[in-house]
């Protein structure tokens, strides 16, 4: 249990460091929130009073502590431009982005593991073709993949209407169906990477002594593949998938733009273009927490799954 505690401490420390860095980075930006809130015509006394009230004159670490305390409690500040609480603005959007990421993750697993294993079992020419297709799929960046899929499903097959996003409250089925195509656009290149990673992992295991032993004891090829090799080969793949999940959170930023999905990513881009710093800060820290959290889970999973890592000892 000690290693888990140690990992947890490192994890919490990383979160703290990241939020401190993000906080300081946004402090460096020139500009005075009090001044921009009151407008340039405000008297210096009023600006000074508001600065006092907003706590802008406190030591920087105190400001950080206050901000972090509120952030963890779900109060992410107020957008000066919208005059609206940031957490209010982000609540619904986070749900959309997470659904999109989740759907793409399901796609990746459904595509990559069967195809990867199928290719290995058939071998030869079939696996070569899979390899070539894989290489090409990996080279298609998600935003172009999204455009190609829009063309395929929208123009050729006529089953998808781009820009036809409906919110979850309006139409649950429509919400999920619309997200299927964007999810596929995120999933395809990642699935290709997973296939390659899985096959490399299986091929590496195939040369191990235990495989030869298992075969010489009269097990069939299939038995050895499913009962012996895959158990070992899947361990690095699971870690890879968890890392891919973190990467997909970032990948959804672009895809949301391609398919005009009103999620966190679009909000992020709008906030960058319009300099809505409180919103920006909240989104960056939120995404950072998500990514670090997923990496933490991947780490734990890896230790748990592979007894050779000696999870107890670390």
């Amino acid at each position: 249990m000690k290693w888990l505690l140690k990992k947890l401490l490192i994890f919490l420390f990383t979160l703290l460091a990241i939020s401190l860095l993000a906080f300081l980075a946004f402090q460096m930006i020139p500009g005075d929130p009090a001044l921009s809130l009151l407008g340039t015509e405000a008297t210096p006394e009023r600006v000074e009073a508001l600065r006092q009230k907003m706590g802008l004159k406190d030591p920087i670490l105190l400001q950080f502590g206050r901000w972090l305390f509120l952030f963890v409690r779900g109060d992410m500040g107020t957008s000066y431009s919208y005059q609206m609480s940031v957490s209010e603005m982000l609540k619904g959007k986070l749900m959309i982005t997470l659904t999109l990421t989740g759907l793409s993750f399901i796609f990746i697993i459904l595509l990559s593991i069967p195809i990867g294993i199928f290719g290995i079992k058939k071998g030869g020419l079939i696996n070569k073709v899979i390899g070539i297709l894989n290489q090409i799929t990996m080279a298609i960046p998600p935003f172009f993949g999204g455009i190609l899929l829009t063309y395929l499903f929208g123009v050729v097959l006529r089953v998808f209407r781009p820009g036809g996003f409906v919110s979850y409250e309006q139409d649950v089925a429509g919400f999920f169906t619309y997200l299927l195509v964007p999810a596929m656009a995120i999933a395809l290149p990642k699935a290709a990477m997973t296939i390659k990673f899985l096959q490399d992992s299986i091929l590496k295991e195939m040369n191990q002594d235990y495989v030869r032993t298992a075969l010489s004891r009269g097990n069939s090829q299939g038995q050895v593949l499913y009962h012996h090799i895959l158990k070992n080969a899947m361990i690095p793949v699971i870690t890879f998938l968890a890392m891919a999940l973190a990467d997909m959170v970032a990948g959804s930023i672009i895809i949301e733009q391609v398919f005009s999905i009103p999620g966190i990513g679009r909000m992020l881009i709008a906030s960058i273009s319009n300099r809505y710093y409180p919103v920006l800060q909240a989104i960056v820290v939120l995404m950072a927490f998500l990514v670090v959290g997923l990496n933490f889970l991947a780490d734990i999973l890896y230790q748990k799954l592979d007894p050779r890592m000696g999870g107890q000892k670390i």
Binding site: A25, Q135, P141, L148, M287
Partner: protein, 265 residues
């Protein structure tokens, strides 16, 4: 396995050389001014005069792709110069000397490396603002940790080798050893890191320009063209197809090249 690597290298190199020749030729002969608007030719199809057609302003798509590819090469090149240069220097020093600086920098590195590159670049862009130069800065900074980690590993591996020991016995100073003795031995590994870096830089630049925070209009860039073309996908699919294919070829070329250069296994 060796033969496959060679084939991958050759294929990647030829794709890139062909693309590079097109870009080079554009310095001597550009069919049209890439920003020249022409109302009569709005959405002109593929023809001998405009052999990839024209966009929504009647601008020649082929000329714009040439200019955009130039920008992409430029951004990728300087990104690697900044990220690869600083990263390798940091990795070399920490890897060779070790000690507590190494420990701190690598902990910091781990924290940053856990982050998707693209998200990190967006954070930097949000701080310094959009634009071509800022994209180079943002991506350059973001690429430093990756290179530092690879360079550190290599220098750590080499620092106790016999040739380093004998160079020390002959009185060579640490910086002489780092630059003239160890560095040449790390080049094969660094080179494959550079191709992967190019690959990531091309995707990131196109992505940021697609989002409208990279190369600013009216300058052509592949990502921007794609985002503009998206609105006309149903009427003029070729507008999206050509710039997209160039991005795919660039990425494919660099990744094949990288596969061929990779030394392990």
């Amino acid at each position: 396995m060796r033969k496959e690597k060679k084939r991958s290298f050759l294929l990647g190199a030829s794709i890139l050389i062909v693309l590079f020749c097109f870009v080079l030729s554009s310095f001597f002969y550009m069919p049209y001014d890439p920003n020249q608007m022409d109302n009569a030719n709005k959405f002109a199809g593929v023809s001998f005069a405009h052999w990839m057609g024209c966009d929504n302003f009647g601008r020649d798509i082929y000329s714009r792709i040439l200019q955009g590819t130039r920008t992409t090469f430029l951004v990728a090149f300087f990104t690697i110069i900044i990220g690869g240069g600083i990263g390798t220097a940091v990795g070399a020093i920490t890897g060779y000397f070790g000690g507590w600086i190494d420990e701190i920098l690598m902990r910091l590195n781990d924290a940053v490396a856990a982050f998707p590159n693209f998200l990190l670049a967006l954070v930097v862009i949000s701080l310094i603002g959009p634009g071509t130069f800022n994209v180079i800065m943002a991506l350059g900074i973001v690429f430093i940790p990756g290179f530092a980690r690879i360079a550190r590993g290599e220098f750590l591996r080499c620092r106790n080798m016999d040739y380093v020991k004998s160079a020390k016995l002959m009185g060579a100073g640490p910086f002489r050893i780092i630059i003239f003795h160890i560095f040449p031995n790390t080049i094969p590994v660094l080179l494959s890191a550079v191709t992967i870096g190019f690959n990531n830089a091309v995707i990131a630049e196109a992505g940021m320009s697609f989002l409208g925070i990279g190369v600013q209009p009216p300058d052509a860039s592949l990502g921007r063209m794609l985002s503009e073309a998206q609105a006309y996908l149903f009427s003029t699919p070729s507008y999206a197809f050509f710039p997209g294919m160039v991005v795919v070829l660039l990425v494919l070329g660099f990744s094949l090249l990288g596969n061929g250069l990779e030394r392990k296994a």
